[in-house]
Symmetry: C2
DNA sequence: GTCTATAATACGATAGAC
DNA sequence: GTCTATCGTATTATAGAC
């Protein structure tokens, strides 16, 4: 199978990939279907053959992440609400972010919350995090504990993509982020 | 001076106020000048009399906040790089957020970073925070310390507007946020 | 200082040929 | 599966009357 043949068959996958890149870089609203199409050397109409709407591209990207996140929630539920579980969840969540699309998707989510606000994908993501919080924060958790937990996840997010935090390598940045997250969820 | 007379003279101020509300609620891009005008019972063209461009409204809002932030940076610079200074800076920063426009502006900034990315106001804000970091983080600061410092500010931001963190009152929420921030910058 | 009217442009989405 | 062409709608911004 030649390179050209391969390219021909997975236009849909390429659209997803390019869209994710652009969404992460410049946000959902600012990324037009024309721009996505141009990067692939096709037309807007061709994109519409593979996805019924622009939002469907987004949904398709989020669903992949949701699958991993749901697994994590289920895993957490089956465990005691201890400090050790919290630490394990954070470690596993960071592994999830290290996946192929994780970092870009989460950057897009972290920096473009406003754009996601009215979209189903946005509410679904929020729901998942709320579920995680319910499982992990003590029943009578104080506001402070909720803050700490929420910030722990933000720490991991920043560790996954934030370039303007000085670190010698991406690995060191992720390690530092995990340390802070673990301390917050302590 | 009647209420009607007062209203007549400060249309510019009203535009700023309504724009800030809408920017915070739904983001910069999604807020149109038509929407701003409609809320005030005037037309789009009338808005253009008071502001040359949409971006100028944004700039005008940010400049107010920058003034307070610059004061804080100057104050911090004149102090020793100690844990006590860091704590004082966080406390003063929270006071800044408690100002009339602070919380809305910061919500808009925190949730709509993607929209601000290519705007001068966005880079200026980033610059200010970088300056604050330079003053407060030790010269040989580790990546972990940078994370902690950055998260301390995010904690205060969430404390200023985030409604989905359970707390009995806004005051309690802010107090909890400050506690976490102080712990992070310890 | 506010209006009506409109220019110029971009967007998401569709129709129909090939 | 991809194309050209287009529809309908929104946007920022401007011109000129009042």
């Amino acid at each position: 199978m030649s390179v050209a043949d391969e390219r021909r068959t997975d236009t849909r996958a390429q659209i997803r990939q390019v869209a994710l890149e652009l969404f992460a870089e410049q946000g959902y609203d600012k990324t037009s279907l024309r721009e996505i199409a141009e990067r692939l050397g096709i037309t807007k109409a061709a994109v519409y053959y593979h996805f019924k709407t622009k939002e469907e591209i987004l949904t398709s990207l989020f669903n992949e992440f949701f699958a991993g996140l749901d697994e994590l929630v289920a895993w957490a539920r089956a465990r005691p609400r201890t400090a050790e579980t919290r630490a394990d969840v954070l470690r596993r969540y960071q592994d999830l972010l290290a996946g192929p699309t994780g970092a870009q998707l989460i950057r897009f989510m972290q920096e473009g919350q406003a754009a996601l606000k009215d979209l189903p994908a946005g509410s679904e993501m929020k729901e998942r995090f709320a579920r995680l919080a319910t499982v992990l924060v003590p029943e009578d958790g104080t506001a402070e504990q909720h803050f700490r937990f929420r910030l722990a996840f933000i720490a991991l997010h920043l560790g996954a993509f934030s370039t303007d935090i000085p670190a010698d390598s991406p690995e060191e940045r992720r390690a530092a982020a995990l340390n802070v997250a673990l301390d917050l969820a302590r």
